[in-house]
């Protein structure tokens, strides 16, 4: 039997004009995890499955994961390195297959243990990246994350055969979830995709997380598509949109409307896959029912949206493309090895994530939400961007930050602004 191919499944759905929708779902209880996958597969939508791992597994604190499982403390995801392989097979057998490939989502800066575990279970689709899972979420030095991701790319690439095609998705389109100007998100997604391809991956996806301006978001996904076309020739690839990753609307109607907007963004920008958020997002870890509702809501919204004809979108004629292109080419010119180029770029502040606390991030850039809703720079630090990219500058207060962080939430919740 042909092994399931994550990239192939998404490509077939995209060719049929269907948006693939995917949850971000993980439970420590194997029975609940299996039920979550079964109900994702049964949802009224074209879906792929997700095993989201718990935080202890992410930081490789397997002793804490074991203790929690032994004591029955619920974890915030599936501990793939802790449950015995036989237990994980009871979760996956008869579910993971050509008609329903399952991806592992984890958030680890050093995922060697996770990739070893997922490959041993017969899985071969996962996500992350040397920058996108290091700077926002860990204390791991960037150089160690780059080394670890070289290793896991090699592990995934070696698992490939003529008909088994491991897939790796860059999480570069998220970077702290909010307030990062889209050009940096696009640049990092592309650079991580190039990193994956240079280390042997034949199937990749590049991500972009919905931000504050639908127009700017469409420009960003178009820029991502154009740069991927220029820099990843001959690699199976697709684009994945993440429903808003920042402070989520607290109301049910607001949360679902924001998700619908993300689904329309995905279709209208030509993306092939959408990772959903649920109506419960602002309050707790979502249940299976919350996830199914989100998948079906997104699929319904996607069916009402129209994919543009080739060449009809914003293409390369945008501020986002121009900035992203300058960032990508500046970085790639630093070193023949993409990993070394990324390290040099962050060391010199040529890549710099606003509000990122990681010691290897220069921390000289600042961003804000402009009056037209677009994310712009108030300080470009040492980024290789024109001075005209700086749109406003004043000292940020905690109230300003909270206003910016909650803007989308307030826009979508009833009685909110705008």
């Amino acid at each position: 039997m042909t092994p399931p191919s994550f990239g192939g499944f998404v490509a077939r759905a995209h060719a049929r004009g269907e948006l693939v929708v995917q949850p971000r779902m993980g439970f420590s209880d194997p029975r609940l995890m299996r039920e979550g996958l079964e109900r994702t597969r049964a949802a009224e939508a074209v879906t792929v499955g997700t095993l989201t791992l718990d935080s202890y597994t992410r930081v490789n604190d397997l002793a804490a994961a074991r203790l929690a499982v032994a004591e029955g403390v619920p974890l915030n995801g599936y501990p793939i390195c802790t449950h015995a392989p036989a237990v994980s097979h009871t979760v996956l057998d008869g579910i993971h297959g050509t008609g329903f490939p399952v991806q592992v989502r984890h958030g680890s800066a050093r995922p060697e243990h996770i990739v070893a575990a997922l490959l041993a279970l017969g899985l071969d689709a996962t996500e992350g990246g040397p920058v996108s899972y290091c700077l926002p979420y860990s204390r791991t030095p960037l150089s160690e994350a780059v080394a670890a991701w070289r290793t896991v790319c090699g592990m995934l690439a070696r698992a490939g055969t003529d008909d088994r095609v491991p897939h790796l998705e860059s999480f570069g389109g998220c970077m702290l979830g909010q307030l990062c100007p889209p050009s940096v998100l696009v640049a990092l997604s592309v650079l991580e995709g190039v990193f994956f391809a240079r280390h042997g991956l034949r199937s990749v996806s590049l991500s972009y997380a919905q931000q504050t301006s639908p127009e700017q978001d469409r420009e960003a996904v178009a820029a991502l598509d154009a740069l991927a076309g220029e820099l990843l020739p001959g690699v199976d690839r697709h684009l994945v949109v993440y429903a808003y990753m920042g402070v989520y609307p607290a109301s049910r109607t607001g949360a679902l409307r924001l998700l619908e907007a993300a689904a329309r963004l995905a279709v209208e920008s030509g993306a092939a896959r959408l990772i959903v958020k649920t109506a419960a997002e602002a309050h707790r870890i979502p249940t299976i029912a919350d996830n199914v509702e989100a998948l079906e809501t997104a699929a319904r919204a996607a069916r009402t949206a129209v994919r543009p004809a080739a060449g009809a979108g914003p293409g390369v004629d945008s501020e986002v493309y121009a900035e992203a292109r300058a960032l990508v080419h500046t970085v790639l010119a630093l070193h023949d090895d993409v990993g070394e180029a990324l390290l040099l770029a962050f060391r010199r502040g040529l890549l710099d994530i606003p509000f990122c606390l990681h010691p290897d991030n220069a921390g000289r850039t600042r961003s804000f939400i402009d009056t037209d809703g677009r994310l712009r720079w108030s300080d470009t630090g040492r980024l290789p961007l024109a001075r005209t990219a700086v749109a406003g500058a004043r000292k940020l207060t905690s109230a300003d930050l909270l206003t910016a962080l909650t803007r989308v939430q307030r826009t979508y919740d009833p009685g909110g602004t705008r």
Partner: protein, 145 residues
């Protein structure tokens, strides 16, 4: 913006928990504390317990703020406070915890009682920022010696 500029002895040590990767809570709380007049050492996300203990012993902050929003805060926070209170030098340091501490998002009186019994001076639920601000404003701005 890891720490307030020019701080060798910050008045507040702000930290996430060992398994919590979130940082917006920490970026925001640093600004809140600085506006009150505090100087802040921000340890950032995912600090192992021994890093928090070592930093507290080195920096001797007057207030330690533990912020967690990943649902493991009760579990991780309990382990952390036991490690902190095991150090005689930190027996009387004010240590508070807050955020979204459990996976189901429900206020849990038993959990608050267990955290305070283990040594936290206060446990703040999600949304209790005014109470936190008031406590921080009552805390001396200079490190206790």
């Amino acid at each position: 913006m890891n720490s307030s500029p020019g701080t060798e002895s910050p008045s507040v040590l702000l930290t996430g928990t060992s398994s919590d990767a979130h940082t917006w809570n920490l970026v925001y709380l640093q600004l809140v504390l600085e506006e009150i007049g505090h100087t802040v050492a921000n340890l950032g996300p995912c600090p192992p317990d021994d890093l928090v203990v070592r930093s507290c012993l080195e920096l001797q902050p007057g207030l330690v703020v533990v912020s967690s929003v990943n649902g493991h805060g009760f579990n991780d926070g309990l382990r952390l406070i036991r490690a902190l209170r095991a150090q005689p030098e930190l027996a009387s340091t004010t240590v508070v915890i807050g955020g979204k501490l459990v996976t189901d998002g429900l206020r849990n009186v038993g959990m608050i009682r267990r955290l305070t019994a283990a040594g936290y001076d206060r446990v703040f639920d999600d949304g209790e920022l005014p109470a936190f601000r008031a406590l921080a404003a009552r805390t001396p701005y200079r490190a206790v010696s």
